[in-house]
Amino acid sequence: MTELDELERMWATEHAKLARRVSHNEALLRSVTAQRQAPSLRWGRGTAVAGVALAVASVVGLAIFASRHSDSPALLASALAVTVFASAIGLSTARWLVLVRQLDLAGPVASSQRVLESLALADYRSLKIALLGGVLLWVPVLAVVVAAAFNIDLFAHLPVAWVAGNLLLGAAVIAGGQWLSRRYVDGPHITVWTRRVLAFVSGRSVTAARNFVAELETPTPG
């Protein structure tokens, strides 16, 4: 008997048990078909469209800001850094929207899963950009906002050493966070939410998603 024949025999036995279970599921069918459920992606899509619009508005606003503060190199550099940050967030979100349009759960499994995993990768990328930007760019963002709202050059009042120290502290927080997350991601006593954050910060989630996409790209491994 071949191994798959043997499995087929076992499968037939399980199949018979499953068939009995299915007969109890008329209630499930009724409950699902009776409701008109709100599509879960619709909310996410609305938020993403708003995010892209906000990013475009920010880039336009920053260009105007830069033209008005061309005499202050520090503010100009801050505006440039924030523009790069807003563009990266905007592009990543736009890519997410394009992928959502391509998503078809009734399509061939390999291509649907490729799109789904690319969506997860786009989410990770956006989160990474937001985290890096939040830690490294909060001083430039604050300086641009204060200058735009109150016409005050924050850099004229802040010591250069303090600004540089903040940047270095941000870089140290990122490096330390990565080290800690790699060390504790497999810890037995951490909550599901903590594990998820640690898996993201350590890069494990991104690696897993990339590996799965790579496996789908080359359907016959080895």
Partner: protein
């Protein structure tokens, strides 16, 4: 994703099709889940998605369409759970298979089958399920979106892995009975 409710078949016809394919839904859920509770959750999620996606159904090749949506939803659920909990081992050795195992032999077979499937990757699990359900290589290729030769190659590799698994299982059994 298309959400409109205008369909090639009426809602009543689709409900009848859904009822007809509930066995398929449960087999897919069985293939990707560890225990009975999780399996019921996945079955519910699959049925929900099938209902939501009904506008995309063109009225032809019902089982291909149902398999595609069901496997896509099950893999997504499985990967989401792995991401959420960090678990890599999907099969719970201590969980009862269907809660109605009558004999030790049947229980053993059930465990062997589930552990064999649990050792496969997400795509290979779907492929094994489609093969055990009696689909041809061409149909499996159409559902999974890979070539028929690829299906054959993957099945050969799965056979080798299964043989190894069943051999190790029977040697464990022999050792157990000798003791």
């Amino acid at each position: 994703m298309v959400w409109e409710t205008r369909t090639a078949v009426t809602d009543d016809k689709f409900k009848a099709l859904l009822a007809e394919h509930l066995g398929l839904v449960h087999r897919v859920a069985y293939t990707y889940c560890r225990d009975v509770t999780e399996r019921d959750d996945v079955a519910q999620e699959i049925v929900t998605h099938l209902w939501r996606c009904r506008a995309q159904y063109d009225g032809r090749q019902a089982s291909t369409w149902f398999y595609r949506v069901a496997i896509n939803v099950a893999i997504s659920y499985f990967r989401r759970e792995v991401r959420r909990s960090g678990r890599t081992e999907p099969f719970d050795q201590h969980a009862a298979t269907l809660g109605d195992v009558a004999t030790t032999a049947a229980h053993h077979d059930s465990m062997v089958l589930r552990s064999c499937i649990a050792e496969l990757g997400e795509m290979d699990r779907g492929l094994t399920l489609l093969h055990l359900d009696g689909n041809s290589h061409a149909v499996i290729a159409e559902i999974l979106g890979i070539s028929a030769s690829n299906v054959a190659t993957r099945l050969t590799r799965i056979r080798v892995a299964m043989r190894r698994r069943l051999d190790s299982n029977s040697s464990t059994q022999v050792q157990g009975s000798e003791q």
